[in-house]
């Protein structure tokens, strides 16, 4: 008579299979596709070098999102004073460093 498998054995088999698949993806897949990605990276670097490109083509909504590194410091609000941000990609992008850096606390001036 065949002995039924213990639940721990079934769980161990399932967990090992999932963990092995994950380990395979994390450790083996990057090595397997490395040469293809090296080639692609070299193509990207070559076109960037030849044309002197500065920004990737991630957000093509507006000029200041297409070339984030070339935009004015307050470019999101440049269309008219107090204009709200128009484009959804504005919500993806981190504010400029000087805005998120905590301000040094200076001496407090008491009002007269």
């Amino acid at each position: 008579m065949i002995k039924p498998l213990r639940k721990s054995a079934v769980f161990a088999a399932f967990f090992s299979a999932a963990a092995a698949a994950l380990a395979g993806l994390l450790l083996v897949h990057p090595i397997y596709v490395r040469s293809a990605f090296e080639e692609r990276l070299e193509k990207h670097r070559s076109v960037t070098r030849t044309l002197g490109l500065t920004d990737p083509c991630l957000f093509t909504e507006a000029r200041y999102t297409r070339h984030l590194s070339q935009a004015d410091l307050h470019s999101a609000f440049q269309d008219h004073p107090l204009a709200m941000e128009h484009f959804p990609s504005g919500s993806m992008v981190l504010p400029p460093e000087h805005l998120v850096r905590p301000k040094p606390s200076g001496p407090k001036v008491k009002p007269r």
Binding site: R6, K7, S8, V10, F11, F15, A18, A19, A21, L22, L25, L26, H29, P30, V33, F37, E39, R40, L41, K43, H44, R45, S46, V47, T48, R49, T50, L51, G52, L53, T54, D55, P56, C57, L58, F59, T60, E61, A62, R63, T65, R66, L68, S69, Q70, D72, Q78, F87, P88, S89, G90, S91, M92, V93, L94, P95, E97, V100
Partner: protein
């Protein structure tokens, strides 16, 4: 000794799995939602890390400095003779005026980037386009693109070449053309350029050269390669809007799970603990059994969530994020990210997702297990 300890733990695991299986509907849905939370967080981490690395590597080749002219605080056209003067600064290898701009194509409702490189190899009536242009332009007839010049006249240019599809992340919306047609379309007069790209011999001199340019050309604004790279390395920080919303949602879902677990056990679970105590189980045995229960759920959810996130980001081109990145744009590049996973981040994720849940499942069990079994069974 070791084998008896192992067998004992295995016995607890067997019992815990039997308990979980008895309430399989509830526990399987818990694993599904828990895995989804881990999937969301891991996807964001994998995607932003991979994109950041890609940008760091690609932008190594960007010009060391871009000099823009500003008028009234806004980017303005720069006289080409500035380039000759900047070329003469010691340490500058070359200063080349760049001609580029944007073109909004009505038929496609899309923005394209026009560029006229100095050494454009094709004839003046030909263009070289990115594969994103071929995909979205909409009115390509016999390989010809219709432009509207600055004066309102139509201008027809033929597609001479297309960029390699593998470079789409940088070239998807690019249209390269000769200087003549570019000036007609963009309306940039002779003697002016969009900005000036500087190549510098020693990168350590960039700061000094930037200061000299700011002093000699007070109407300009130098942008260093370091700043360009920094823009993209900090692009998708955890504080940026979409990521915060995503992480906050995932965190809230996770808190609801743990709160549900920590605030108490069902009457059935309490009665079960009372019976186990009644038949002679120690408090430590019950805690161990519940520990295995929590560990089995959280480890399974972690492995499944990370596995799904890896497949989503590196094998399925992060399709779930595409709509968010695309925003209102018509043109979005198709690109694959190089699979790289930071072990440290994964370890932090494991620590934050598995350990709190496992520990939190033990707390209410401990409270019930230290009560008199008779009282527990009567209450249950």
């Amino acid at each position: 000794m070791t084998s008896s300890w192992f067998e004992r733990q295995r016995g607890f695991l067997d019992y815990s799995l039997s308990c979980l299986w008895r309430r399989k509907g509830r526990n399987l849905s818990l694993i599904a939602v828990y895995s989804f939370v881990v999937f969301l967080i891991s996807s964001v981490i994998f995607f932003t890390d991979a994109l950041r690395r890609e940008m760091e590597n690609i932008l190594e080749e960007a010009p060391e400095m871009i000099v823009q002219r500003t008028v009234g605080g806004r980017h303005s056209l720069i006289p080409v003779d500035y380039a000759e003067k900047m070329d003469a600064i010691r340490g500058v290898r070359s200063a080349e005026p760049r001609l580029w701009g944007y073109y909004f194509h009505q038929a496609a409702s899309s923005n394209y980037t026009l560029m006229a490189p100095a050494d454009f190899a094709l004839p003046a009536d030909r263009v070289k386009v990115g594969t994103g242009v071929l995909r979205t332009w909409g009115t390509i007839e016999e390989g010809r693109l219709y432009f509207r010049s600055r004066t309102g006249e139509p201008l027809i240019l033929s597609i001479g070449e297309a960029f390699d599809g593998a470079t789409e992340l940088m070239t998807a919306d690019l249209i390269l053309m000769a200087e003549g047609p570019f000036r007609r379309i963009a309306g940039i007069p002779e003697g002016f350029a969009t900005d000036i790209a500087l190549r510098i011999r020693n990168p350590r001199e960039c700061q000094v050269i930037a200061e000299k340019i700011s002093y000699d050309f007070p109407d300009t604004r130098p942008i260093l390669k370091e700043e360009i790279q920094r823009t993209y390395t900090s692009l998708f920080g955890w504080r940026s809007g979409y990521v915060v919303v995503l992480l906050a949602g995932a965190l809230a879902a996770f808190l609801i799970f743990t709160w549900d677990k920590a605030t108490g056990l069902s009457a059935e679970e309490r009665a079960e603990i009372g019976i186990l105590k009644g038949v002679g189980w120690d408090t430590s045995d019950i805690l161990l059994m519940k520990f295995w229960e929590g560990a089995a759920i959280s480890l399974t959810a972690f492995v499944l969530g990370v596995l799904a996130a890896y497949v989503h980001v590196f094998l399925a081109s992060a399709t779930l994020f595409e709509h968010a990145l695309k925003g209102w744009a018509v043109l979005y590049p198709s690109f694959e990210l190089r699979p790289t996973v930071d072990g440290f981040r994964l370890a932090v994720l494991l620590f934050l997702s598995v350990i709190p849940y496992t520990l939190v499942t033990i707390v209410p069990v401990w409270r019930t297990a230290i009560t008199d079994p008779d009282t527990v069974m009567r209450q249950g």
